[in-house]
């Protein structure tokens, strides 16, 4: 059995050795990080975005790089998952996007702050994270839309920009899009354009308690959307 002085040597020696290895690896990591994270893309907007991120303690609910709290979604790849347009609308009024759901604080961000935040999130989404977050290996496909039947029925209709940036976060067409709201294949058969128009103006008036948010859009944008949806037969 070792003596007390040998035990002390083990402690002191081991600590010094492993501290030195750790410092060496730290230097090597700091040399490699700029490439892995595309540090040249850290513009002043990205840095401002990071400061907004910190000065509101976003990590107190969300995770980023998988670090933070578990009350709100992981945001490393959020720009890829939603879209810049969606985030712009969402950050203007977070609770409007998910009525009756878990709440995010309304921070009253200015347009400039929102674009800084999005710049930060976009930059971080492009870093090399050794495969995180893992792709969901058992991913469910959108349920109510048989993917095979859909493309033929609306291949001639092109979706307006608004639709592919915003609506697909929750709704799928032809099997592409989110699965929070119902799939919209054949919506033009199920509903007429007057109903769709009313629905988009104020979902709560048509169906109280619905999870569908009132999305901010101009009359032209809405008309374009209604036309598109009416043609999804």
């Amino acid at each position: 059995m070792m003596s007390r002085s040998q035990a002390r040597m083990f402690f002191v020696g081991g600590t010094i050795l492993f501290s030195l290895v750790f410092l060496f690896l730290t230097v090597d990591t700091l040399i490699k990080v700029p490439d892995l994270t595309h540090a040249r893309n850290i513009t002043p907007a990205v840095d401002r975005g990071k400061q907004i991120w910190e000065s509101n303690n976003c990590m107190g609910c969300h995770t980023i790089l998988g670090e933070g709290a578990y009350y709100a979604p992981e945001l490393t790849k959020v720009v890829e998952r939603r879209s810049e347009q969606w985030l712009k609308v969402f950050l203007k009024d977070p609770q409007a996007m998910f009525p009756g759901e878990r709440k995010m604080v309304q921070y009253h961000f200015t347009d400039g702050q929102i674009s800084d935040l999005i710049a930060f999130l976009k930059w971080i989404g492009e870093t090399n994270l050794n495969g995180f977050p893992a792709k969901p290996v058992l991913k469910m496909t959108a349920t109510s839309a048989p993917a095979s039947a859909a493309p033929a029925s609306h291949s001639t209709v092109t979706a307006p920009a608004m639709f592919s940036q915003l609506c697909t976060a929750c709704h799928a067409v032809g099997g592409n899009g989110g699965n929070i709201g119902p799939a919209l294949d054949g919506i033009g058969t199920r509903r007429d354009t007057t109903w769709i128009d009313k629905w988009l103006i104020d979902p709560q008036a048509v169906k109280p308690g619905t999870a569908m948010p009132t999305l901010p859009m101009s009359n032209d944008e809405r008309a374009e959307l209604v036309k598109y949806l009416g043609e999804l037969k």
Binding site: L25, T29, A39, N56, R102, L138, M140
Partner: protein, 461 residues
Amino acid sequence: MKYTSQRVAYWFFATCMLLFSLQIVYGFIMGFAHMGMDGLHDLIPFNAARATHTNLLVVWLLTGFMGASYFIIPDESGRELYSTRLAYIQLISLVLVGVTAIAGFHMNWWEGRKFLEIPRPLDYVVVANVLLFLFNIGMTVLRSNKYTATGIVLYVGLVSAALLYLPGMIYFSNQTVDSYFRWWVVHLWVEGVWELIMGSILAYLLIKLTGVDREVVEKWLYVIVGLTFLSGILGTGHHYYFIGTPSYWLWIGGIFSALEPLAFLGMALFAIAMYRRSGRNHPNKVALYWTMGCAIMSFVGAGFLGFAHTLPQVNIYTHGTLVTAMHGHLAFWGAYAMIVLAVISYTMPLMTGRKLWNTMPALLAFWLSNIGMLGMTAAFAVAGITQVYLERRLGMDFLAVQKEVEVHFLGLVLAAALFTAGIVLYIYTFIKFGKPTAELQENIDTEDYPVRESHAALGGA
């Protein structure tokens, strides 16, 4: 209690009790919010509740470590504390910083990095405060003619903790570098130097409570803290898997964090071995419960549950989910909360002169809080594993998954109620002891004091 200045520890421990109670209140706020009952959202949004919950934990544990040091260092050094006045000034300023930070959280004032939420200007006050503490303790050690391994390891742990706080104060515009150095504080504290503090307090309590020869206990202490650093320093790598750092961290972090449970296992085996060799039948059984409980629960919570999700193949799915909360709760409870509660249980009869050991509320406090915490850990585990499968493997939407796991938060809150009952009884016992006395009494457990044979006389007294 050999020295009157050791009494300052009482006020640190009383502060611990207060902050700990408040921490639990904020825990409930979050538990209910997870169930959809977020009525306090406008006053205390989740991020404020969470930061308050975790920062109160850190502050009360540090306060506990400081109190323990103010009790242990004079005893180990064989002299009065350098200055009791400094100790009181230091406690009051620590509380003021804490209150300011928490009030700030509620007004959206942040540094805003996980576990380092305290606004940067206050960081400097924290540093000044800790320097004051280290100066006071350091002068006590220096002016004595006695250097024990237990005292030295404790002091090295405290100084390193202070030094490692510094890299966390620097601003980096690259989130990856930011996170890299944030872990120098967080990981190297809880899986490094805090274990030194914990190990030395544990060694001190075992020397006192079991009467095992100091030579033996301190040899073990060196081996265990040696193992801690051997695995823990490069074990920091398990935080560097997926944050934009080179991929060699996957295997370095994987291998060394797989070794991390060894230090905790060593600690548990060491405590059990010392207990079995015990030559002393110490009357303060409750303190012995907390001490042994700490050694065992820290292995389960920090060692075993940490290992359960530390391998990169597992962690790529569990990283950033409620699985982390599962490990975090039992680890902090077992390793750090219990060691502070152990040292409080051990010192209260000595400081107040009231031999209120082994009362029913004190024993119930131990069992209820531990069973409650195990229940909470189980609830987090089920919620976490469900989240991993639905969100990470099936690709379900975050909020939809949160709806699915709401029921486990009901389980969490119920277990937390049991835990809280235990803590209420602990605080009740604490209050029952009353204030410390100036009167020095016979030390019932100095190292040369009776071993088991003469215990009958003591028990009958």
